[in-house]
């Protein structure tokens, strides 16, 4: 097995384990968030193995560097020391959730591999910022511009939601 493959399976496993840690850690929200960061970074390595260099960098910059930090920021702002809730929850929903999620995943893993294409050869600059940028600013320039509107709306929405009303 070559180095990329080793990296793939190693960090894939790391991603799964840390994702499980995130979901299963019911005590500590910050620990969950840190597990999520680990998942993100592991996924970034997987992206590098899959020749998606720009995506990998952005994965760390945006997801790990900004989004999860905002999660942590909110957790700290609300000072949620202990993630302990008193009331018992609806067990049926919980059970249904697990069944559907795992059943769906199982079904998917059963079905999908039959119809997957074979992996093609790629040019040397595949996934580089130049190649992605060329596609982004030529073929996808309209979605790119429109996405700025979405972000603007999100900014305004977040400010309006989180702002303390001054009466």
């Amino acid at each position: 097995m070559s180095a990329p493959a080793v990296f793939f399976y190693l960090f894939g496993a790391a991603a799964v384990i840390s994702a499980l840690a995130m979901v299963l850690n019911v005590r500590n929200t910050v620990a969950s968030a840190m597990s999520l960061v680990v998942t993100m970074i592991a996924l970034a390595v997987v992206y590098v193995v899959l020749d998606a260099h720009l995506v990998a960098a952005l994965q760390i910059m945006v997801y790990a560097g900004a989004i999860v930090v905002v999660f942590l920021f909110v957790v700290m702002l609300l000072n949620l020391r202990r993630d302990a809730f008193s009331r018992p929850r609806e067990r049926l929903t919980k059970l249904a959730g697990v069944v559907f999620a795992l059943g769906g995943a199982f079904a998917f893993l059963q079905l999908v591999p039959k119809s997957l294409p074979t992996v093609q050869a790629i040019p040397a600059d595949f996934g580089s910022y130049a190649a992605v940028g060329r596609a982004l600013y030529h073929d996808f320039v309209l979605p790119f511009e429109v996405s700025s509107l979405l972000l603007l709306a999100a900014i305004v929405g977040a400010v309006v939601l989180a702002k303390r009303r001054i009466s």
Binding site: E90, T93, A96, G97, F100, A101, G104, A107, F108, L111
Partner: protein, 674 residues
Amino acid sequence: MVETGVSTDLLRWIPALPLLGALVHGVGLGLMRRDMPRPLVIAVSCGAPIAAFVVTCMAFAQMVAIPGEHRVLIDEVFTWIGSGRVSAEMGFAFDPLTAVMCLIVTGVGSLIHIYSIGYMDDDHRDDGGFQRFFAYLNLFLCAMLLLVLGDNLLVLFLGWEGVGLCSYLLIGFWYGDRWNAYCGMKAFVVNRIGDFGFLLGIFLLLWSLGDAATLNFAELKAALPRIVDQTVAVPGWLPGPEQWRLTTLIGLCFFLGACGKSAQIPLYTWLPDAMAGPTPVSALIHAATMVTAGIYMVCRMSFLYVEAPGASAVIAWTGAATALFAATMAIAQTDIKKVLAYSTISQLGYMFIAAGCGAYGAAIFHVGTHAFFKALLFLGSGAVIMAMHHEQDTDKMGGLRRWLPVTHAVFLVGVLAISGFPPFSGFFSKDSILLSAYTAHSVPGHQWIWAIGVITAALTAFYMWRLHFRTFFGECRADHEAQHHIHEASWVVLGPLVVLAVFAFGSGFLGLPQIYGNWLGVPDSNALANFLHGVLPHPQHEVAESTELGLALLAVGAASLGTLGAAWMYVWSPGVPVRVRAALGPVFRLVEHKFYVDEIYDALIVRPLVFVSDRVLFRVIDAGIIDGIGANGSASAVRGLGAHVLKYGQSGLTQGYLITMIVGALAIVVWMLR
């Protein structure tokens, strides 16, 4: 294009200029919410038709300069509707027929616009009435010009509907009186019946032409031989053979449209009521231009009617019946404008006689002369009405020549013209119609049509002179106070009257029959017929000069008879009418009440329709089924469903919603992978 003409950009300006005027007024009123200053309104609204007239003259000159038989100017502005095989251009064509119509419309239209300045001067309502009036008038002119200029059926239909709309708007112009608004509505609805026939005709034509389907007149003309021999089966209750010629059916459909627009039996009832509009409107729309649209259309489609003898016969007989029928009704009217309205219907009947007998040139000739003398009569009556302070009943007039010498003089010219005394214009045009009826062997019973025409001529002379005598002669029957205020109108009003009087007298010489031309030493004296020669089919048969002269003398004799009768009854022995009325009794009441046609229509058609619409269509279908079961029912069903069933889906458990969403997504995935 089958028949190409000379391309020009001039034609589009003819309808565009009045449209511009209407837009300026409409936008000014709509956006600025206040009247423009009157001088500006006048400048714009009268400038537009005059400019259109000038452009028309330029186009006329340009067309006349083209050598050869097929003289036509073409202006394709843009493709209006492009739909597969059929496409409709916003295109205009200017051939001799259009030229005549265009000159009449813009010329008479300009005069009536000027006249309206004086007539509408006292309109000081706060709804921008003065400006609104001119906006409508300009819009009407635009539509009418579209109608006569359009080089295909769709543009013609656009103008057709446009003039109908403007007619509706102008009849109900003084909408403060509900009766006026009702009259406008009546005109519109009755016209819709005719339009239905017109549309059926268009669709039939399109359908039957198949691959060669087109709307362009020139192309239609070329494509017509494809369907000439086709026949269609018709329901058994219709007269004639079981198989009709397709052209006859199409021609009848078109003629139904012409009936509505040109007020022929059975759709004439709207025109007398249309007199509710301002008098210039009556002159322009309901005498000179719009009502002749039906004649124009039949002439425009003459290539079709030549191949549809059945339809032509129906046209001729309808025209004859209408001419006589309307003339009898006009006899007993006292309202000055009603008399003129019935006279208009009667004269339109004459035109259809000519068209039905294949003398399309004569029909157009009469359209022209009628436009002049009828506009003159209407405007003259308008001057009288102004002088009498909007009193229209001739029972309250009389002896007006004392106060209104100019009006009296021009009115006299009009009466002479319509009565058909030589050498006034009406004589020549009516004479050529009667001649055509006399010689039209293709129409069954054409001699009878000729006889009806002569009788109608006598009746026409009678009721016109009756009107004239009752208005201008004898003792004034208005009260003393009113007499005191009678005065001649201003020159803005009289000027157009004088101009029209000149044309009402002289326009007949444009179509001077050759026999009179020979007397005067003029070769090719019938200028109009020669001019229209290339466009309209013309009757082939020749008659002896003596016959022609004899017929003319008979017609003049009939007119003289009517005149003498009127003079006897209303000037020399004023007691006669009362005795006649007493003697005739019920017959007179029948005539006075216009044969109760409106009442019959009301009872036979309107009331059942209203009943069905109200009780069945409105209360049962609309309110009961559509509103009750459809709209309210579905709404309450949804509400009930939400209130009693679906609300339990609103569990308040966010993750429950999430599960639902995932189940749905999974279902879609499974369905796609199936």
